[in-house]
């Protein structure tokens, strides 16, 4: 498949790219404003791109990995996300949200699209290829909270069970609200309401400006 090839194709940095990066003064990603860096990326600044990657690489990869689970697939998706950042950085508009928000929103959507696409492909294979049989290795794991970030963890724990599961299944597993409803044995209207109540409560708990 095309995307597998994309990943495997360029395992080495071309000498010219290395040279350019080594020669240039590095941007300190922890001090420079990410929004300013993204603006530079939009103008084709490769060092700014490296700084954005250094600042957000583990957030993007971690999110992809959390949603997708398969580390190599998550790596592919993280790569796609950063290529998209490179391509469309000129569209970033600081008045509509932070740079981190922009990149992580792209990343989450891509991860969710990938996991749904892969699931649809698996369903099709199971439907049409009888010889494969059901996949016994795949264990549906119960939703657990093992987050690094203490505040987020605490805020999630402050939700009702239905709210928490609705948010968890949707955000961290890529379920649509209809799938969440099926998984929880609730109707879709209830699930939408729980998601809303859950987000409002999280927002207030985390101190996000409304």
């Amino acid at each position: 498949m095309a995307r597998r090839k994309l990943l495997g194709k360029e395992n080495t940095v071309s000498p010219s790219a290395q040279l350019r990066l080594a020669d240039a003064p590095a941007y300190a990603s922890d001090t420079a404003d990410l929004g300013d860096l993204l603006t530079l990326v939009g103008r084709g600044d490769e060092r700014a791109f490296a700084a954005v990657y250094d600042a957000l690489g583990s957030s993007v990869y971690g999110l992809a990995r959390r949603v997708i689970r398969d580390p190599s697939r998550a790596e592919e998706v993280a790569q796609e996300v950063f290529i998209q950042v490179w391509q469309s950085a000129a569209r970033f508009d600081a008045s509509r949200g932070s740079a981190k928000s922009w990149v992580l929103t792209l990343a989450h959507r891509r991860a969710v699209d990938a996991v749904r696409h892969d699931q649809a492909a698996t369903n099709r294979e199971n439907k049409y290829d009888w010889s494969n049989g059901p996949d016994f290795d795949e264990v549906e794991e119960t939703v657990t909270i093992s987050l690094e970030h203490e505040q987020v963890k605490r805020c999630l724990e402050g939700l009702t069970e239905l709210q928490r599961e609705a948010v968890n299944l949707a955000y961290y597993k890529g379920y649509t609200y209809a799938e969440v409803a099926t998984a929880l044995g609730a109707n879709t209207a209830t699930v939408k309401t729980r998601m809303r109540d859950g987000i409002v409560r999280l927002r207030d708990c985390m101190g996000v400006e409304a």
Partner: protein
């Protein structure tokens, strides 16, 4: 609209909408200033959830990206991008309405662009969004009872058409779907896909219709079976 779009805001912020609903919500969002303000807080909250699960990526990823961007073209800045965004937004409600008429048009996310060359694929993606966002775009589709949709967006001003196949039933082992553009001189192959695919066809002015056939892996020079779908251009 029959369903309360406002109730989709939380699912939207969590990316818990099907693709068609996502499109519909975004069209609604454009006209709803109150929603935009509230959504910003919801999105920022979701970002915090995302940021709480960071994980150090393999070092090779950085190297690969820094190498790849040296060969990757970028979208042009602000003026062009804004104009494109406006024209896309204006078109979205119409597209969403067209989609609502398609029985069984389930939009399970994601697609595979079947191209060997990645940068060519990316250029195509830009061209594809230009066709779909064109002011004069017209859509037509064929849905299959067993599931799956082939949808076409044609724009006379761009002299191009986009074919998007979603969730197609398996064509069978060792088989692929092949897309043909048919004009007076006969069918011309446009490419192949298996379950999902997205492709752009240029120079459609003289074309009569687009057909999809099932062919052996790798595709055929000429169609070897009756079309499973035919869409007039």
């Amino acid at each position: 609209m029959s369903i309360d779009l406002h109730s989709l805001m939380a699912p939207y912020a969590l990316d818990a909408l099907e693709r068609d609903e996502r499109t519909r919500f975004e069209a609604h969002l454009d006209q709803c200033v109150d929603c935009q303000a509230e959504l910003a807080g919801f999105m920022a909250t979701a970002v915090r959830l995302g940021d709480a699960v960071s994980h150090t990526p393999p070092p090779a990823l950085r190297d690969r990206l820094l190498s790849e961007i040296t060969q990757t073209s970028q979208e042009r800045p602000v003026v062009t991008a804004l104009a494109q965004r406006r024209s896309l937004r204006r078109t979205l409600p119409r597209l969403a309405m067209a989609a609502a008429f398609l029985v069984g048009a389930v939009g399970v996310g994601g697609y595979v662009v079947e191209h060997e060359n990645a940068s060519e694929a990316r250029n195509d993606k830009v061209a594809i969004s230009q066709v779909i966002g064109a002011d004069d775009v017209a859509t037509s589709a064929k849905s299959f009872t067993a599931g799956g949709t082939v949808r076409m967006y044609a724009s006379p001003s761009a002299d191009a058409a986009v074919i998007i196949a979603h969730d197609m039933p398996s064509p069978g082992k060792g088989k692929v779907y092949q897309v043909w553009m048919i004009d007076k001189s006969g069918p011309t192959s446009q490419g192949t896909f298996v379950d999902d695919g997205e492709m752009i066809m240029k120079g459609v002015a003289g074309a009569d219709r687009v057909a999809v056939t099932v062919e052996p892996q790798g595709g055929s020079k000429q169609p070897t079976s009756a079309p499973v779908a035919t869409i007039p251009v």
